[in-house]
Each structure stands twice: as C-alpha cells, then as structure tokens.
C-alpha cells in the first residue's frame, strides 16, 4: 500500500483516467434499471414515464382489476423513487379518487410493504402485486377510510353497489363525489 502514497514515486495518473468517468447515476437508479427491465405488467396494466425513458425515478402505473368489486375501474398510481432506493420504499399515491377502505381521499395507500414492512429485497413488482391485492381483497379491519371500512363490514352489498356505481357513472357517497373511472 505504501506504494500508493510513496514520497518519491508519486506517480501522476493520467488525467484522462477520470475523464468521461464519473457518477452518472445513483446506485438507487442502477437498482431501478434492473427492477424496470424485469417488470411484469399483467394484462390491462400500463406504465408511463412522464420525464422520459431515462428518468426512471418517477412513473405512473395504471391498473384495471379484472375481478372483484373494483372490476371495470381504472386506477392510476404515482410512484416516486428516492435515490436512497432500495433502502427506502417507493412513495406511492393513488391519483384516482376511489372509495376504498385502505385508500383515503388524498390518495394515501395503506399497504404494509410501502411502510413498516418494506425491505430492500422487495421490488417495484412486489409493490404492484400488493396494489392489485388491495383491489381484490380490501381489508376493512385496518382502515384508512373509515367510512368505507364500516360500510364494507356492516353492509357488504351496499358497499359493493356504491363502489360499482362510482366506477361506472360517478357517485356521491357520504357527501363525497367519486367521479367515474372506467
């Protein structure tokens, strides 16, 4: 090692060595490239990179559940990935206003792997699976939208018809208007 700093033979490295090299992307971005190249989008899903194909840190995913009570709806989620990815989870918001026990009116999503259970081994794919699961199996026991949760628990039929009405035609529920999102 002393050779490295040797007093006499302080070899000046060619300046060119540094040229053209450098930190062009964060390690988080490198990991995201892998995630995106392996992204498994199922039928009816789409992804959009609003800032172009080389700016992977921000994208929108649209999904259309093909079964369950949210069938027929189109929901868009906004993903913002910090450079600290995958140490930190992606920040995900639902851009579509939806009557759902685990999604509030501001678009906050209550999904364990987005907060307390996030692990660096998880990927964008895992988050998408998680979101799909929320539409197939809304969980009224752990609500973010309390009114939706109570309606689902107390009167599942009524809940279902409200959800479908809001998706198909737009509908007022408890004073909030949910525009159609077919």
């Amino acid at each position: 090692m002393i050779k490295l700093f040797s007093v006499k033979e302080k070899q000046k490295k060619e300046a060119a060595a540094a040229n053209g090299k450098g930190v062009k992307q964060s390690a988080g971005e490198l990991r995201l490239q892998k995630d995106i190249s392996e992204l498994n989008l199922q039928k009816g899903m789409s992804i959009k990179f609003p800032e172009g194909k080389d700016k992977l840190l921000h994208f929108e995913i649209t999904m259309k559940p093909d079964e369950g009570i949210y069938k027929g709806g189109t929901f868009t989620f906004d993903f913002v990935i910090a450079t600290s990815y995958p140490h930190d989870a992606p920040k995900v918001k639902c851009k579509t206003k939806v009557f759902h026990p685990n999604i509030d009116l501001e678009g906050n999503v209550c999904l364990n792997i987005l907060r307390e259970d996030w692990k660096p081994v998880l990927s964008i794919n895992s988050v998408i699976y998680g979101l799909q699961f929320l539409f197939l199996d809304p969980n009224p026991e752990d609500p973010l939208n309390k009114e939706a949760a109570e309606m689902q628990k107390n009167n599942p039929r009524h809940f279902e018809s409200n959800v479908q009405a809001s998706i198909m035609r737009g509908h007022h529920i408890n004073g909030h208007y949910f525009p159609p999102c077919k």
Partner: protein, 623 residues
C-alpha cells in the same frame, strides 16, 4: 478545632519552574514527604500539583492522624483521603515549606501539642508520579527526593503578581473560552505545546522506527513526516459534528493540506458540539468558518474550504486526494461518496484491483451514543453498497394505525404530519424548517393526543419525529472522529495496520467497541469488477447483445438482456422496449465511449452485470 498546616513554597529557579509547568500540564501530583509519622518514618502524601504552585500562598489542608495521634495524611478534604480509620487532629499546626529548609512547623499559640514530640514534618516536592489522591504509609523510607534541605527560608518579598502569576493562567483560559479572542487563543496553544518544537516527537516515533504491527510495505523514513505535511492531500467531507472533530484531529496529527467540503451553513443548534463555530458565525458557511478557525489555531496547516454540494464537484476534484474522510449524516451522501471513490477503481485482466487506482475512504458515523468507524478500500474491503443492509430501516408506522388506532405520541405527530397536513393544507408544501408549519403539526398532534388520551406530545418530540432527529452527542463525535483520524494516518503512512474493516462503538452502557471484518459482495453493482469485452465500435447494439449472448461465459446467464449505460437506457425489455427499440440499429460507438461500462440486466442474472467495452477497431487504429 482541626490542625491547620500552612505550606509556604519557596521561589522557583527557572528549571524548577518549567518542571512545575510540566507537572501542571500532565495533571501530575506532588509528593510531600512529611517526617513525624509513626516511628519517625517519613510519610508520603500526594497532593495535586496545582496545590503547591503559588509561592507563599496559604493553603489550608486537613491533617489526618491515626488513633494514636500520628499524622498519616494531609489533604484538602477528607473525601480525598483513602486511609482508615481517621481522626482529625485538634489544634493548629503551621507547616511552612521554605526554601531548601523544606519545612518548619510552627505551633499556633493556643494549640495544645497533640502530636507527640512536636514532629518536624519535612515536606518536599519530588517526582510528579505519585499515587493519585491517596495518602499511603511507607514503612521503608522512600529514597526519592531526600536530598537537599539546608538553608533557612528567606522572607517572602515578592509581589502579589509574582506569587500568584500561575493562578492567572487558568483564569485567562476561562476568559478566553468565554470571550473567543482568537488571537489570544494562539497563546493558549503555545502554553500547552500544540505548536512547540517538540510537536512531532510522537509522530516521529511512529514514522521513523520499525515495528511488528506496521502495515504492509512500511519503511521507516523521516520523509514520511514531510510527505504528511507537504504532499498528502486529504479531503474531509462534512464540517458538522464529526467534521469539526475530524478537522481538528487531522490538523493536529500533522496533515498539512486539508480540504473540507460542506454545503451547510451554521445554525444556532450546532454550537453546542461544533466547537469551531461561534454565535457570530451563525448563517455563514460551515466549511469556510471551520477552515479559517483551524488555520488560526494550528500552525502550518492549509485548510481549503469548498462551500457546495458534493455532487457539484467534478470527478477530477475528488481524484486529486490521496484519501477521503467522511463525516456525514445521511445514507444518500455516503452512497454518493462511495460511488465516487469506487469509480476510480480499475481491475487488471485477472480481475485483481489495480492498487494504484484505489481511493481509500474512512467513514465515521454517529447516532446518539452509538457510532462506527470503517475503512473502505474499494476492491479490497466492502464498500457501502456491499453492506447496505447494515443501515437499519427507519421506523415507519402503518398509515392505518396512524389513522385509526394511534397508541403513542409519535403516532399522533405522524398523523398530523402525514395525513392531516394534506387534508387541511393540501396546497402548501410542508417544510420542516418553517416554524409555523412545525407549530401547526404540533398543535394538531396535541389535539389528537388529547382526543385519544395519549400523553407525551411535546414540541421537542414533534421536531424529533418529523425531522427524524436523534440527539447528537459531542463525546461520541469526538471518539469516532479520533478513530477515523487515526485510521487516516495509518492508511497514508502505513505506520500501523488499520482496522479490518468496521469498528462499532456503543457508549450507552460504559464503553464498548467491537471490530468486524465484513465481506465484500462479489456481485456488488458499485465496486465489483466489470467484465472486459472486446468488440468493434461499428457493431450495432443488436450485434453487441448477440455477441454477449454467444460468449461462452457471459452468455450462460443471459436470456433476454436489457442494456443501460449510466442513466441512459439503451435497450430495455418489457415496458420500455418500444421506447428503446430504435437504439438496436445504432452503432455501439455512437452510444458508449471506448472503455465505457454498460450495465446488463437479465432475469437469469442475480444482479446487474457490468461489462467494460473495449473497441477492437480503435485499438487496431492506435497501433
């Protein structure tokens, strides 16, 4: 009534004076030898050096005797005595420590002679290495300092200033500390030998002598010190809590050229631990003020400040340093610096790191009473990315818990911060530095906690939760910075083997440290070796991809590769296929420079493969 011993010390010769100063400096003790203990054996008492520094100054000590009335100790107070069982002498004895005559005891007029045969205590200053604060009997008369002691004490004719000058020094220090008179602070450094002629004594011992624990290739050489002072370039990243300590340690350790980079400005809340800064510096650049202060206080060091973000500096900037020392507080900044250091690394054809391209990095980190110091030699020891899992995830509460079943004050604060803010002030960008915003969150959290019957929402906790603040502790910073500075010295001079490669420190219950040799991740996307791959620059991207897949070794793990170069996605399978398809027909020389590294991702690969492209046609042209 207790015996009062009055000690009067003679004027000092200049050599005695300097000896005395040394003793004060080292916090040493004077040993008093008092004759008249039991059986006329001399009694040795240790007294802190400062007790005796003022000639003629009257100090009151407690004299302690045994049951039989023998004098067994002299001390400021009983609590410093460690002998048993104790009894105080009644009456007053005056012991005068005079020039050469050592000691005279004068009986106070009214005092009954308690000590049998009126002992004539002989008190003498000897070597300052006596036992700390304890009075001990020695049956065998210690030979130390028994010489001397003839002439009679002259009357003390010195002025008050002459007698008390030495007391003024500590008072001056106190004033200096309070007033920050930097010019005078210089005097203080001289007083404690930071800039003196013997400044490099210890360092010379390390650098000019062989030893059994020296690092690989170490050759003792006085020129190493010169190298340290004149040629070695060290970059201190961060001038905050750790940075201040690091700069001070590095400068005092002999590094002559230090650069410091920090984008921050000084805040009032920094002043308790970032000791290079003063009230008047609030709002100024940390790097600039720190550099100025260090240069003012340590002779012969040049500190160059850079007040900017680490991302703003080109790679050439980082390349000029022999070593990078990090005093950072965020994972992002560490990961960035890690990529910088690793980007210089090159591997030879056998896949061994080229030692001359290694940019060593020493990283320190503290969190409350815990800290770590680690040494990163890209290609040799694990880099940050290899051990990213070391960083614990931030505690995050489930949103639904916050919304429906809050149980702790932190839940209430996070609810106000994450959910209520959006609901009630959705147009406003929340800013942790905006007092009104923080106050709003605090008020809402307090209301919520009252509603749920939860106690403990405070203004302080609100700041802690929202800004994710863990109180910084100055001593932790000092310990970690010291370890880092030492590792820096070891790496630069190889005068000792460094830590291998991660030292953790826990100061919560006593002092605990543990050093672990973490292992590199062979598939690390940042520091692992890239695979060299030769191809003509005129080949299309499609041809490059086909060639990669046809390669005997590389192709084994490729089925449907995606290729990126830096942030640029050249060809991506799946969702970006359409957007990148056009690149397939472009020549690779157009997309990637010679020697550039491409990232290859494939479902069959566990992690990204890095391929270094070498253009065969260009090499041929050069020949």
């Amino acid at each position: 009534m207790q015996n009062r011993l009055e000690l009067v010390r003679p004027a000092l010769s200049s050599s005695q004076k300097s000896e005395l100063e040394d003793t004060i400096k080292t916090g040493g003790f004077y040993k008093l030898r008092v004759l008249g203990g039991q059986g006329d054996h001399p009694l040795h008492v240790s007294i802190p050096a400062r007790c005796l520094v003022a000639p003629g100054n009257k100090e009151t000590f407690v004299a302690v005797t045994s049951y039989t009335g023998d004098l067994i100790g002299i001390s400021y107070d009983m609590s410093q005595m460690q002998c048993d069982p104790l009894k105080r002498l009644s009456g007053t004895n005056e012991v005068t420590l005079a020039e050469n005559a050592l000691v005279t005891v004068t009986q106070a007029a009214a005092a009954p002679p308690v000590v049998k045969e009126a002992p004539t205590p002989e008190v003498k200053r000897t070597a300052p290495k006596a036992a700390v604060g304890s009075a001990q009997r020695r049956k065998d008369g210690d030979k130390e300092g028994e010489e001397g002691g003839e002439a009679a004490p002259p009357p003390d004719e010195r002025t008050w200033l002459q007698r008390n000058w030495i007391y003024l020094i500590p008072m001056m220090f106190m004033l200096l500390n309070g007033l920050d008179i930097s010019e005078l602070a210089e005097a203080r450094i001289h007083a404690i030998g930071m800039n003196g002629a013997d400044r490099w004594t210890d360092l010379r011992k390390l650098l000019t002598r062989p030893g059994k624990v020296t690092g690989p290739g170490f050759e003792p050489d006085p020129a190493l010190l010169e190298f340290l002072q004149e040629d070695a370039r060290v970059l201190c990243v961060g001038a905050g809590g750790l940075g201040c300590e690091l700069l001070k340690d590095l400068a005092l350790q002999g590094f002559g050229n230090i650069d410091v980079i920090d984008m921050d400005t000084i805040d009032v809340s920094n002043l308790n631990r970032q000791f290079l800064f003063r009230m008047k510096d609030v709002g100024k650049s940390k790097a600039e003020v720190a550099a100025e202060r260090i240069m003012k206080r340590v002779q012969g060091v040049t500190v160059t400040p850079h007040h900017c973000r680490i991302e703003e500096k080109p790679m050439e900037f980082y390349e000029q340093f022999h070593i990078l020392v990090l005093g950072l507080d965020s994972l992002e900044a560490r990961r960035y610096m890690n990529q910088v250091a690793c980007s210089f690394l090159e591997y030879d054809d056998e896949g061994n790191p080229d030692m001359s391209t290694i940019k060593p990095m020493v990283d320190g980190g503290t969190e409350g009473l815990k800290g770590h110091a680690r040494v990163i030699l890209p290609g040799v020891t694990p880099c940050f990315e290899c051990t990213l899992w070391l960083f614990p995830p931030q505690t995050k509460f489930p949103l639904c818990t916050l919304a429906e079943t809050p149980r702790s004050p932190a839940h209430c604060i996070e609810y106000a911060h994450l959910i209520q803010w959006q609901q009630e002030r959705s147009g406003d960008e929340f800013d942790t530095d905006n007092e009104e915003h923080m106050r709003w969150v605090y008020d809402k959290a307090l209301q919520r906690s009252e509603h749920f019957g939860i106690q403990g929402v405070t203004w302080q906790l609100t700041g802690g939760v929202v800004k994710n603040i863990i109180p910084a502790i100055a001593s932790t910073n000092a310990i970690i910075a010291a370890a880092c500075a030492l590792e820096t010295l070891k790496l630069i001079t190889m005068c000792s083997t460094g830590i291998n490669n991660y030292m953790m420190y826990v100061g919560a219950d006593g002092v605990y440290t543990h050093t672990v040799a973490y292992e590199r991740d062979p598939a690390c996307t940042v520091c692992s070796s890239s695979v060299p791959f030769e191809i003509a620059s005129t080949s299309t991207l499609q041809q490059v991809m086909d060639a990669l897949m046809a390669d005997k070794t590389l192709g084994a793990n490729l089925a449907a590769p995606s290729i990126s170069h830096g942030s640029e996605n050249l060809y991506m399978r799946g969702v970006l296929e359409e957007a990148t398809r056009d690149n397939l027909s472009k020549s690779i020389g157009e997309l990637v420079e010679d020697g550039g590294i491409i990232q290859v991702n494939d479902k069959k690969l566990v992690s990204t493969m890095r391929v270094k492209l070498k253009y065969s046609d260009l090499a041929a042209m050069q020949q």
